[in-house]
């Protein structure tokens, strides 16, 4: 994906989030992640994206 296309992806994602609305936001993003997992060439690519997305976020409070 070119930088210009990535920028369009950014804008479309923002527009889609606004269209879906706050109530279904988490469900929408999780569905999107699953569909993008299916579009990944292999599991490693998806696992790397998962790790990168988690990096820097505080872990959930302990079980």
């Amino acid at each position: 994906m070119t930088p210009a296309e990535f920028e369009q992806a950014y804008e479309r994602l923002a527009a889609a989030l606004d269209a879906v609305g706050e109530t279904d936001e988490t469900l929408f993003l999780t569905r999107l992640a699953l569909l993008l997992a299916d579009a990944c060439p292999d599991l490693d690519a998806f696992a790397a994206a998962l790790d990168a997305a988690q990096a820097g976020l505080a872990p959930a409070a302990g079980e």
Partner: protein, 550 residues
């Protein structure tokens, strides 16, 4: 809400007091001026100076008797300095302004993006200079006074305007009394609250953004270099943004965004401003004492007129368009308006313009405005996301920016660049663009390429049209005589500059192996060829003078 100081009191700048003189019209002189300009801000003055450069006198009206009482731009882009160079005033600016190339964007406490504007040893000017608007105006006023062609009327306010028989009929209020003034052309450079626009019943159309910024000038000693600093979600303004720029005379511009729940009145109280600025100064790690110089409230708009020409009236700068500050396009696009308008109006007044020349002002400069809206609109949405979705994506991008190029690139503030008049009716498209390896395409501004230790391409720009001929494309004696004839037929001066091919300058112009660029007075390329054909040069000149229908 009392300010600590009046609008023209300053910790560091002595505001000039210009004398308000009685208008000749008050003595019964019923003269008709070729050009009247309303507004002695940077745009009106730049228009007056451009007209004067072409030998056209103008009368400039301004309600105030000093400088810098309106907006407070601070960033002058390289392409504006090139305009100042043509007006002979660049040296004055370079002696005072602070040049810069870089910037840093922070997310929370971490630097996540480094801005590096294109710059190198082959550039004459830096990509950006910071200078307070009152200096910009003062230098332009002094240059205008020196021309002997600009009748600056301080304290003279436009009251009513009507158009009759293609003449602008102005009623002007001055300290010495009211008078009528007639002008064949009127340049409306009277800012965001343009009286001319209101008098003609015209409205700006477009979008307003929700985000609000308090913009503050602070006097503070600091050795921090001149660069753009942008802070997203910083400790001194959680959930919002801050911009910091250095100006001459130890002045710092701090723009901080108000959160949605903050009250404007309260935010603009001196006590609140001192508390906010104190926190920001502490966050910046500065320890020197600081003082408040000036503050105001800012909101972003992308608004413009449908047309920039209304009969004899031509709108320029904020009178024609309001653009967001992000990307520094307000002042810079206004100066480009004046540079475009100035030579066209001069040709028109002198009877040398074709029937379509003045009408090309709207497509060229409104086209530039719409391009600014697209670029600055994106920057504005990134700085102040207008919806929950935009905010979520922006915050996600910021949090990924440190480790991921794809997200980091989104932080580019898209600083002002000159607009290309590629689609202008004045521009002759390439016959075959494959003959050129890059370089300015027809409509684009000529690159100010280095020629040798001390000279650059734009030093050779003529007052009217210029033909830059590289290498084997330089015309022989017979062609030179024929070129002089086509220029005379077109009614303009055509300077010929012959330069070597195979040089870095030729390569930057896309004509490393030789070629010819025909350049307008405002340094935009209006046509180019691999070889100069006199008839084609003549046709392109006629077209650039508005003698071909759009």
């Amino acid at each position: 809400m009392p300010r600590p100081r009046g609008q023209t009191q300053s910790l560091y700048y002595e505001y000039p007091r210009y004398v308000s003189a009685p208008a000749p019209e008050l003595g019964g002189e019923a003269s008709r001026h070729a050009v009247a300009i309303v507004g002695a801000g940077p745009v009106g003055l730049c228009a007056a100076l451009t007209l004067a450069r072409h030998g056209v006198p103008s009368v400039v009206l301004d309600a105030k008797t000093s400088v810098g009482e309106g907006s407070r731009a601070i960033c002058i882009a390289r392409h504006s300095v090139e305009i100042f160079q043509q007006l002979g005033v660049a040296g004055r600016f370079l002696g005072k302004a602070l040049p810069w190339t870089d910037g840093t964007s922070y997310y929370r406490e971490q630097p996540v993006y480094r801005l590096r504007m294109p710059h190198g040893p082959d550039e004459r000017y830096y990509p950006m200079y910071n200078l307070q608007q009152q200096y910009i105006e003062q230098y332009l006023v002094e240059a205008a006074q020196a021309t002997g062609l600009v009748d600056l009327r301080w304290g003279h306010a436009l009251d009513t305007l009507r158009l009759a028989d293609d003449t602008a009929m102005l009623e002007v209020e001055s300290p010495q009394g009211r008078y009528h003034l007639r002008a064949s052309y009127l340049v409306a450079a009277d800012g965001a609250h343009s009286r001319v626009r209101h008098q003609l019943g015209l409205k700006l159309a477009g979008a307003a953004y929700e985000g609000r910024y308090v913009i503050v000038d602070v006097q503070m000693r600091s050795s921090y270099p001149t660069e753009r600093r942008a802070f997203f979600d910083p400790v001194a303004n959680r959930g919002a943004t801050i911009l910091v720029h250095k100006q001459p005379d130890d002045i710092w511009r701090i723009d901080y965004q108000l959160r949605d729940d903050e009250d404007e009145q309260e935010a603009l109280s001196e006590r609140e401003i001192r508390a906010r600025v104190g926190a920001i100064v502490a966050m910046l790690g500065e320890r020197a004492p600081w003082q408040l110089e000036w503050w105001s409230l800012y909101k972003a708009y992308t608004l413009c007129l449908d047309g920039y020409r209304h009969g004899p009236v031509l709108f320029a700068g904020d009178a024609a368009h309001l653009v967001p500050i992000f990307g520094v396009r307000g002042l810079n696009s206004g100066l480009a308006d004046a540079a475009d308008l100035g030579w066209k109006l001069a040709m028109q007044v002198q009877g040398r313009a074709g029937p379509h020349l003045l009408d090309s002002y709207t497509p060229e400069r409104r086209g530039a405005t719409l391009d600014v809206f697209a670029q600055a609109g994106r920057s504005t949405r990134f700085m102040t996301p207008p919806s929950r979705g935009e905010r979520l994506v922006r915050d996600a991008a910021l949090s990924l920016a440190a480790g991921h190029d794809c997200a980091r690139r989104l932080l580019d503030p898209r600083q002002s660049q000159p607009y290309s008049y590629a689609a202008s009716p004045l521009t002759t498209p390439d016959d075959d663009c494959s003959l050129f390896a890059g370089g300015p395409t027809p409509g684009a501004a000529l690159a100010n390429a280095r020629l040798d230790d001390d000279t650059f391409l734009l030093d050779g720009l003529g007052r009217e049209f210029t033909l830059f001929a590289f290498g084997d494309a330089a015309p022989g004696d017979a062609d030179r005589a024929a070129l002089a004839t086509v220029a005379r037929d077109a009614g303009v001066d055509l300077e010929l500059r012959c330069l070597a091919a195979g040089t870095p300058a030729a390569a930057r112009c896309g004509v490393a192996e030789g070629g010819v660029l025909l350049v307008r007075p405002d340094r935009h390329v209006c046509a180019r060829w691999r070889h100069a054909d006199v008839a084609r040069v003549g046709a392109a000149l006629q077209r650039a003078l508005g003698r071909s229908p759009a």
